[in-house]
């Protein structure tokens, strides 16, 4: 028996790179859970049971402030007030504290309603749909629609396409650039709580701020009462009272300063809850009635009470992420398989090769209908989604070689016939980038090619990179023809360019920008940039 299992283990390591089957993976001690290969930037604890946003520093501060203040309160004020006034004070304080902390932890450690990213086949299908609507008759390039209009209860709502998650976002969903996920009914990303606030944890968040408001007011009142009582017993000497119980002053000060903002926030969210709006929608004024036209909120239940009940006690989906499921090879293939799964043609006939894939890109030699444009919400997300499809051994190291683009323009010109896309890209010379870029950088503008308003790097990079990847599987580097090598260099350079020139480390919410220039001609406002 032992021999058998040993043999099995040896077998595993030998063929590990080609993928083992799930049974043998289970035979090993270590199974990979799905949270470990999660595409977003969340952090997971307790083997995937708990999840938070990437930066937890402010959350720890929140916890520290609350527990610290309450500890001081219980030690100093409660002992006095329990005997002098009533023993109910520490009890009420204790209950409020427990409720506040549990709501806080619930908000911070639960899934806010993250929408899982699309599988490659889904993404391809959506692209095909976009392509179909785009195809046909335009000799001039027309940018693909990034929005889709739907009628929600008679009102027209625009659904935006998320380039990172490769889905058309449901209404009220939004992409959080900090966590790099699309969140259903996205309210806001709260650093104090260390997580996004979305559909699934809004009620906990609301309970948290309401109970915290009560707690802050309660503690403030008790601390002040304590000081006043001591003052009275000391014949009106307030300073004596302070000397007798300095922590009470600390507690009172902290509460005083925090109570205003917490009360304000609680009031604001009560308003949002009663009108069934999210912070996101309120800030953008989606349903404000001052726009000339009546913009009713189509999601409202109609009634203040009903809205409250629905949001705070209504049914809620379970987490759509199967965090603790085991990663099988199917799953791994599903999430990491590149879009064109069936390309096995040489790169020379690039245009043809792609057409066989599910994306069915119709490539002309002159214009490239960029299927999707990567408005990178952040570079990391972009890198995540692009490198997702690029194998790890994608030689970014050789990308710097490609910074001298002019040389390459010439060399690539020779490949015009064979790889029309490349010439198209390079002739537009690192081309018009997304809005994020235009807002962030002040680079020199050149190349005012009107119709090419987009960063076409991304789709090409993906396909190139995949093709290169596929090639790499088949051949060693030495075996690549000059053509192939060049192509891989080009794609690597594009990847590098993408990372360099799009907004790095910026948590800009592109949704708000998108709103300002909606519609299919949103590219008109873009600056064209050359590096």
């Amino acid at each position: 028996m032992t021999l058998d299992s040993e043999y099995q283990l040896v077998d595993l390591t030998a063929i590990h790179s080609e993928g083992t089957d799930s049974m043998s993976e289970m035979a090993r001690d270590r199974v990979t859970k799905k949270w470990e290969v999660f595409a977003g930037r969340n952090r997971f604890y307790c083997d995937g049971r708990l999840m938070t946003a990437p930066n937890g520093g402010v959350f720890l501060l929140t916890v520290f402030l609350i527990t610290g203040t309450c500890t001081l309160f219980f030690i100093y004020d409660c002992s006095y007030l329990a005997e002098k006034v009533t023993v109910a004070i520490p009890i009420i304080g204790g209950l409020l504290f427990i409720f506040t902390m549990s709501s806080l932890l619930r908000t911070s450690l639960s899934d806010p309603g993250i929408i899982p990213r699309a599988t490659p086949e889904e993404a391809a299908y959506v692209e095909k749909q976009i392509e179909v609507t785009n195809s046909a008759n335009s000799p001039t390039y027309r940018p693909p629609p990034r929005t889709k209009e739907v009628l929600v209860k008679g009102q027209t709502i625009k659904l935006k396409y998320c380039f990172t998650c490769k889905i058309f976002r449901p209404p009220r969903a939004s992409h959080c650039s900090l966590c790099d996920n699309c969140v259903d009914r996205f309210d806001h990303h709260c650093p104090w709580v260390g997580n996004c606030v979305g559909r699934r944890n809004y009620r906990f968040f609301y309970m948290f701020i309401v109970s915290l408001a009560f707690l802050a007011v309660f503690i403030f009142a008790c601390a002040i009462a304590h000081l006043i009582l001591i003052t009275k017993t000391n014949d009106g000497q307030f300073l004596e009272a302070v000397k007798e119980s300095p922590p009470s002053v600390i507690v009172a000060t902290i509460c005083f300063f925090s109570v205003w903002s917490i009360l304000g926030l609680a009031g604001f969210h009560t308003y949002l809850t009663t009108s069934n709006q999210t912070t996101n929608e309120d800030i953008k004024g989606s349903f404000a009635s001052k726009r000339g036209q009546e913009n009713m909120n189509p999601y409202s239940q109609g009634n203040v009470c009903l809205n409250c009940f629905y949001i705070l006690c209504g049914p809620v989906t379970p987490s759509l992420l199967d965090r603790r499921g085991i990663v099988t090879d199917d799953y791994r293939a599903e999430i990491s398989r590149p879009v064109n799964a069936e390309i096995n043609q040489p790169i020379k006939s690039y245009g043809v090769a792609v057409q066989n894939g599910p994306t069915q890109v119709t490539m002309n030699s002159t214009d490239m209908p960029g299927i999707y444009r990567q408005t990178t919400e952040t570079t990391d997300s972009n890198a995540g989604s692009v490198t997702h499809l690029v194998s790890n051994e994608q030689p970014l190291a050789i990308a710097p070689v490609l910074q001298k683009t002019t040389e390459h323009q010439y060399t690539s010109q020779t490949n015009l016939n064979q790889s029309p896309v490349y010439s198209n890209i390079l002739s537009h010379a690192q081309v018009p980038l997304s809005k994020s870029q235009s807002y962030a950088n002040n680079l020199n503008v050149a190349e005012g090619k009107g119709e090419v308003g987009d960063l076409h790097l991304d789709p090409v990079v993906l396909r190139d990179a995949h093709i290169v990847d596929k090639r790499k599987d088949d051949k060693l580097d030495n075996d690549m023809t000059l053509q192939d090598k060049e192509n891989s260099l080009l794609s690597a350079s594009r990847l590098r360019l993408l990372q360099d020139t799009t907004m790095i480390e910026s948590a800009l919410d592109l949704d708000s920008l998108d709103d300002s220039s909606l519609g299919t001609n949103s590219q008109a406002g873009l600056m064209k940039v050359v590096v």
């Binding site: 929600v152 209504g314 049914p315 293939a333």
Partner: protein, 147 residues
Amino acid sequence: MSNHHNNGSRAGETEQMAPSQCLKVFIQRDYSEGTVVKFQTRFPQELDGRLERQAFEATINRLNSYFAEAENATCSTYCEGCLACLTAYLIYICKETHYEKCLKKVSKFVAEQNQTVYEPRGLKLTDPSMRGLRVIEISCLDRPPNA
């Protein structure tokens, strides 16, 4: 039906994983009634000739009704929500939410439909919960992706 494209599935997982490397059709969400989970009943062209419209519509309508039941905000769901709040949400350690129960019904229904209607026609439904409630994936088991 030919199974040679079924290379992605393994024993014990056929009910979960749809086979890769085959043509897939995606039924998108219908947002006409808001953010409730509802799928479009428009018949996809790719299934023309492989599946009767009535069968397709029956499946989708039934699924929509299950989801409507899940998302329906009735008195009982409100009570459940209030009770959960009062117990500091600890009750969910023991009890399942109403929504989860409905999703289980959906899974059972999808499995049953696959067995009776779809697999005999060389198709396979994927539970929308596996796709984040975004789409209903119908795989055509004997067609390559490019068809």
